[in-house]
């Protein structure tokens, strides 16, 4: 069933863009940032405010959400997160979950507790027929955009100077510093880009789902599943994990509605038992 496949892929792509920033901070910077969803929420709400209050086009909302969340991420990284890089993981978890609750309360105060949505531009609405299957235009848009992003990210990490510096900084921060690489700056930039991607994911998801103040908590579990299944050392790992989860989730709910909700958890448990290092990661030496 092609429609189901497409829906699943679109959902998976969305999950990937939402979660990739977390993979980067967790895998590359060894920092557990459970507040990642809050950056996604910031991007989502920015788009909603821009569109519903000021009537600005959705196409501007997407880059604006990226920039806004990236700046927010950079500011918080410099002021708050930087103090926690050397702390234990438990401290990081407690700190970032605290941030989630604060973000929830702040959004609740300013935006209200009810679900908020946007109305997509007409060009992205509706459905088209593709090989006999009816597919939502917006889902195609999501797939294409997220696909391009993935290719871009992979390129930056693997082929550019910045990518190699980042990998060096992660592999051994002290040596990298000794070689004259500004590790602090690289981490700040990476964190900002990761947050920006979350913001973009949040803005994109307003087209399919809606925003409410509990968004970071609701999605935290999905991010964590993507990461535990995909591993954190590559970009391709979480990418395929997101696709797998998206398709499995949608197909499961379609063909076996009674147990559909459990399928992604089943996959996660199976992966954790069989390959605890993640599905697409080489076993650690």
């Amino acid at each position: 069933m092609l429609t189901i496949l497409f829906d699943g892929v679109a959902y998976g792509m969305l999950l990937f863009v939402l979660a990739i920033g977390l993979c980067v901070t967790l895998g590359l910077m060894n920092f557990i940032n459970l507040a990642h969803g809050a950056f996604a929420m910031a991007g989502g709400y920015l788009t909603i405010v821009m569109m519903n209050r000021y009537g600005i086009s959705f196409y501007w909302g997407l880059p604006a959400a990226f920039v806004f969340s990236a700046i927010l991420g950079a500011v918080l990284e410099r002021t708050l997160y930087v103090h926690l890089y050397t702390k234990s993981h438990l401290d990081q978890v407690l700190f970032s979950i605290g941030l989630v609750f604060m973000a929830t309360a702040v959004v609740d105060y300013f935006m209200g507790a009810n679900q908020q949505t946007i109305n997509l531009p007409p060009a992205l609405e509706g459905r088209v027929n593709f090989l006999g299957a009816s597919i939502g235009v917006y889902r195609i848009f999501t797939i294409v955009l997220c696909g391009l992003l993935t290719i871009g990210l992979q390129f930056v990490l693997a082929k550019t100077r910045f990518g190699s510096r980042l990998r060096a900084a992660v592999d051994d921060g002290r040596v990298a510093r000794g070689m004259g690489i500004d590790v602090t700056k690289i981490f700040a930039l990476t964190f900002a880009v990761g947050s920006g991607l979350a913001g973009l994911g949040g803005a994109l998801s307003t087209g399919i789902i809606s925003m409410d103040p509990t968004f970071p908590l609701k999605y935290m579990i999905y991010f964590l599943i993507v990461i535990s299944v995909g591993g954190t050392t590559t970009i391709t790992g979480p990418f395929f994990a997101s696709l797998l989860l998206g398709v499995a989730d949608v197909a499961g709910k379609y063909y076996a509605p009674a147990v559909g909700g459990f399928i992604i958890y089943t996959i996660m448990v199976a992966v954790l038992i069989l390959r605890p290092q993640g599905l697409f990661t080489k076993a650690s030496r």
């Binding site: 309360a105 609740d108 507790a113 679900q115 949505t117 459905r127 809606s210 103040p213």
Partner: protein, 387 residues
């Protein structure tokens, strides 16, 4: 000297004796609402409804001052139970109220029974709740009361087959059950009954399944406050183009969310007891004062239930002439009849269940805003599950 002391003692004894009477001058109402968490929008509406009632009717009734204490249970039943105990034991409330979800009301039931304190259910809609404690009084509505009218309407308007899609929790399953029962009694057929997890963010699979079954109508139920996501995806999947009518209980086209759903929901038919558009002097006054004291927010079915809840408490106190004894209050609440912003309301004297009026409504644009416009009154419906 001795006389003096005796006099003093007598005076203080007198003072002591009058103390409880003084304390009785205030009647405390403890409301347990989900002010944060998933159901926060419900809590917000309930609080606003109470505020509107107090603004309109003052805080004095039958010579007593009403003091409302609001506690946030975040929508978690364990917390609700603890808060109910605290309200009864520490704050000495005479009436409990609120309860956003069925499990919450169920958890509070034993507390109300043991403490002999009336508990006014404003939101939770599973039928069985009022049978769990003789101190439960419902002012909201129940699932069968909401679903029967829309099932009847569908059967009468050329819908032969339907698929139901509900949130997978007690009221959702109730909605599914009662819709199927009523619709099939009227000769229709439910092709499939789909249940989405309560926190499901993506309904794509369920909606596609419903669409592929090609029914005449798709019946939806999700908790109030969560209709926006669902409707967005329903519209995206283009049911209208496949000639599938989308019908629902009024929770889906909640007044709180309706405006943000956009023109795509125009024409959708739902059943419920309250629309902010209801045409009556009582509702006009209610909407006006509600908007005035609540920052221009639009009241929804939760707000009106909270408003009626306060009304029932005030009325009961008037009947008992200010006596806040739990048993007397419950007895006074039974059989109360009044004109609510929804229309004529009644508390069933036998079951303590609300008997609200019901309407079939269609989403229309009025004065630039989207409203559920009532076009057919089905009259009050007694909950059919109580014996």
């Amino acid at each position: 000297m001795r006389r003096q002391i005796l006099k003093g003692l007598a005076a203080s004894a007198l003072a002591l004796a009058t103390l409880p009477a003084l304390a009785q001058e205030t009647v405390k109402v403890g409301l347990i609402l989900p002010m944060t968490g998933q159901q926060a929008s419900t809590g917000r509406q309930l609080e606003a409804g109470v505020k509107a009632y107090m603004a309109q009717h003052g805080d004095k009734v039958a010579g007593k001052k009403i003091e409302v204490i609001i506690k946030d249970d975040t929508g978690v039943a364990d917390i609700s139970k603890r808060l109910a105990q605290e309200l009864v034991v520490n704050d000495k409330v005479s009436v409990l109220g609120g309860f956003g979800l069925t499990p919450i009301a169920m958890a509070v039931g034993p507390v109300a029974t043991q403490a002999k304190v009336p508990a006014v259910i404003m939101t939770a809609a599973t039928s069985v709740i009022v049978e769990q404690s003789p101190y439960f009084v419902r002012v909201g509505r129940t699932m069968p009361q909401m679903t029967f009218p829309i099932a009847d309407w569908a059967a009468k308007n050329g819908v032969k087959t339907a698929v139901t899609l509900v949130s997978d929790y007690a009221p959702g399953i109730d909605a599914e059950k009662f819709f199927k029962q009523r619709f099939e009694e009227a000769g229709g057929k439910v092709l499939d009954a789909l249940r989405a997890p309560l926190a499901s963010p993506d309904f794509a699979a369920f909606l596609q399944k419903a669409k592929d079954l090609k029914p005449d109508a798709l019946f939806l139920f999700v908790p109030s406050g969560q209709g926006a996501t669902l409707m967005k995806q329903v519209i995206d999947r283009d049911f209208a183009g496949s000639k599938i009518r989308v019908i629902a209980t009024g929770d889906v086209t909640d007044d709180d969310l309706l405006n943000s759903m956009g023109d795509s929901v125009l024409g959708m038919v739902t059943s419920h007891d309250y629309s902010a558009d209801h045409d009556s002097p009582e509702n006009k006054a209610f909407v006006e004062i509600f908007k005035k004291v609540n920052n221009n927010m639009r009241p929804n079915m939760m707000a009106v239930a909270a408003y009626d809840g306060m009304d029932v408490i005030y009325r009961a106190l008037t009947t008992t002439k200010g006596d806040a004894n739990g048993q007397k209050l419950v007895d006074a609440m039974k059989g109360q009849k009044w004109m609510s912003p929804r229309g004529p309301m009644e508390i069933d004297a036998a079951t303590r269940e609300a008997i609200p009026p019901m309407f079939i409504r269609r989403v229309e644009r009025k004065n630039g805003e989207l409203y559920n416009v009532e076009f057919e009154a089905t009259g009050p419906i007694k909950d059919p599950t109580h014996k």
